[in-house]
């Protein structure tokens, strides 16, 4: 404003003396500089509206404090973006990774990532210090260790970012929500263990326990309106290190019991199928013997009926003929010895050597 006033004064020059001319030129050039500076300032203000978003973060534009865009559109991804200058728009950056994952903080004994990787455990004392070692109580009042890893995704960024904080004042991140999910997991482990028996958690119903924990976490997350959805919950449970061996012995004993029973069952199958086969063969043999008997009697009866007329015509002759007919057949397989008759009619002595055929030697016939 004051520049303008100074400029207006030398505007109507009456005399074109060298001094006033020089002053006018100087003023004109300084005005140009000021004008240029003002334009530059405006340009800078607008150019400053450009900002980039990295891969490991998202940005939200707050216009007069209110997030722009609804749902997932609120989150600006990696790339170049533009916003109005500060008093109108404010850009907040939120560190956000692709995978949202938390692990419960209670329920597991004190260990380090190095020990986890090496698969070793810290030495077990006779008792558990509640300040250091985590554990849960089961329904049958056993102590076990358990932990849950929860994967989730952000459903409603407005809720997740602007409704929860981890205490870091006025900064924006997802720490508040991940903290809440973590406590939901802790709570789920305690409450679910409280209604499961130790053997169900450790061996008999591992999947059921995991599923119950997942349901509990999902329910809490929904009730607490965290704006996230639980994708997966993995639960790992172990017996206390102090009792590891005896727990292992129980499972071995139980496996042995199963083995004994399985063996007995296969023996049962064997015994029953053998008995079944034997029973079938007994009845089959009886059936076929009976059938054979009946048919042979019937065949004999038929033959008898056919022969009866011939026999009745001359019984004696018939019998002689039949016997003579049968003789060659009967004698075909027989070793024959003849005893010549003595003229004096005395009996002949016959000696048999009985060592040739082991089975049933026949005694000597009459002379």
């Amino acid at each position: 404003m004051s520049d303008h006033d100074h400029h207006a004064q030398p505007q109507p020059p009456e005399t074109r003396d060298a001094g006033s001319q020089a002053l006018a030129e100087a003023l004109a050039s300084s005005f140009v500089i000021v004008k240029f500076a003002m334009v530059a300032l405006v340009v800078i203000i607008f150019a400053a509206g450009f900002f980039t978003v990295g891969l490991q973060e998202k940005a939200v534009i707050l216009r007069f404090g209110k997030p722009q865009g609804e749902g997932q559109k609120m989150l600006l991804g990696a790339g170049l973006h533009w916003a109005l200058p500060y008093p109108i728009d404010e850009v907040v950056r939120i560190p956000i990774s692709e995978i949202q994952k938390v692990t419960s903080t209670i329920g597991w004994f004190l260990t380090t990532p190095e020990m986890e990787l090496a698969g070793t455990e810290p030495p077990a004392g006779p008792s558990l210090n509640p300040q250091i070692d985590g554990y849960v109580l089961t329904a049958d009042r056993n102590i076990i260790h358990t932990r849950a890893t929860v994967s989730y995704h952000i459903d409603d960024p407005r809720t997740a970012i602007f409704n929860f904080t981890s205490g870091t004042n006025h900064s924006f991140n997802l720490a508040g929500v991940s903290n809440a999910v973590q406590n939901a997991a802790n709570n789920a482990l305690i409450l679910t263990s409280a209604r499961f028996n130790v053997d169900d958690i450790l061996t008999r119903d591992i999947a059921g326990f995991q599923d119950a924990v997942r349901q509990h976490v999902s329910r809490l997350v929904e009730n607490e309106k965290l704006g996230v959805t639980i994708d997966q919950v993995q639960v790992q449970s172990v017996a206390p290190r102090q009792l590891k061996d005896i727990f292992a012995q129980v499972s071995i004993a139980r496996q042995n019991r199963e083995k004994l029973i399985t063996e007995a069952q296969s023996k049962e199958n064997q015994i029953l199928s053998e008995a079944g086969a034997q029973a079938a063969s007994i009845t089959n043999a009886a059936a076929s013997a009976s059938h054979r008997f009946v048919t042979s009697i019937q065949a004999d009866a038929e033959t008898f009926a056919q022969l009866l007329p011939q026999y009745q015509s001359n019984p004696k002759l018939y019998m002689q003929l039949e016997l003579a007919k049968a003789m060659p057949q009967i004698l075909a397989n027989v070793e024959k010895n003849f005893m010549p008759a003595h003229a004096d009619g005395k009996s002949t002595e016959l000696r048999l050597l009985l060592n040739r055929e082991p089975p049933q030697p026949r005694s000597a016939a009459n002379p």
């Binding site: 109580l137 009042r141 904080t165 508040g176 007995a264 049962e268 009976s290 397989n333 070793e335 016939a365």
Partner: protein
């Protein structure tokens, strides 16, 4: 030319003035915030909890106090309490709380200090927990029967107790959720629990051994009995089948009665045929038919 130049200059200057005035006379409340406007130190009647642009007189007339209205997480210390059946139980709870009424909140805690508020919250939780846990037995905390498990109800009772306390003092704080974060037993008790668990396990081991053998023996003996039954039944069936066969055959016996002599002859002949089928040595008298034919045919004795 000069006039146009002046116009641009005035415009740019005006923009700058507007921006400056905006900074001086307005303020923003962000989505996550709640603000209280004070006029000469006196708070306004309402909280500014919606994100927007608000007007104010510049300092020192009016002043803005901002608070985070997001849900804060607070966890109390792992502390011991007695249950109704005199068990010592260690519990720690997490609380999701937030400033629900900033104009009430900030005069009560020095400068609206969150830490001061949480100290107050911790004291309330301590007494609420002690009161609620003392009303319940251990069986209400751990129980395999869902009907007797009262864990969720216990959490609800603690929450209600703290909420009532907060409301009666009008702290401007509300509790969104509360849950047990950690549950434990005193260190010395864990050792006795381990001893009990150990003896339980030992019992299970002998049970499993005994049960396994008993069950296996039971299965085997049942199978053997069943097998014996099967064979006995089969033998009975066989006897019945044979009996039926004999009865069937008896129907044809009438045929043979027409001439028993022939029947007997036939049977004898048949018996002879079958009995001579095997390797047999017979010694005959020459006078026996049909070999008596030889005697009349030749005087030479046959010695074979």
């Amino acid at each position: 030319m000069n006039k146009k130049k002046n116009l641009i200059t005035i415009l740019i200057a005006a923009v700058l003035v507007v921006i400056f005035a905006l900074l001086l006379f307005t303020f923003q409340v962000r989505q996550s915030e709640v603000a209280v406007l004070t006029t000469f130190g006196k708070p306004a009647a309402s909280n500014l909890d919606q994100p927007s642009l608000y007007f104010k007189w510049p300092w020192p007339i009016q002043q803005v106090y901002r608070f985070d209205q997001r849900v804060q997480n607070f966890e109390d210390k792992f502390s011991e309490n007695y249950t109704a059946d005199n068990t010592v139980l260690l519990t720690s709870v997490y609380v999701g709380w937030r400033i629900s009424d900033a104009k009430e909140f900030f005069p009560k805690f020095a400068g609206g200090s969150v830490a001061a508020a949480q100290r107050q919250l911790e004291a309330m939780l301590r007494s609420a927990k002690a009161a609620v846990i003392a009303k319940h037995k251990l069986a209400d905390f751990v129980n395999s029967d869902p009907a007797q498990l009262k864990f969720t109800a216990i959490e609800e009772e603690i929450k209600t107790a703290v909420q009532t306390e907060l409301a009666s003092h009008n702290y401007g704080i509300s509790i969104d959720f509360l849950g047990v974060k950690k549950l434990g037993l005193p260190e010395s008790v864990t050792q006795t629990v381990f001893d009990r668990m150990k003896s339980e396990r030992t019992k299970y081991i002998s049970e499993a051994q005994f049960n396994g053998e008993a069950a296996a023996t039971k299965i085997r003996s049942a199978a053997e009995r069943q097998a014996a039954d099967l064979i006995a039944n089969a033998q009975a069936a066989a006897t019945r089948i044979e009996g039926a066969g004999v009865a069937e055959a008896a129907k044809t016996l009438g045929v043979f009665q027409q001439n028993p002599e022939l029947a007997v002859f036939q049977l004898q002949l048949e018996a002879l045929k079958t009995s001579m089928n095997q390797k047999t040595t017979l010694v005959f008298d020459e006078r026996m038919t049909p070999f008596n034919l030889f005697q009349n045919w030749s005087a030479t004795p046959s010695t074979k």
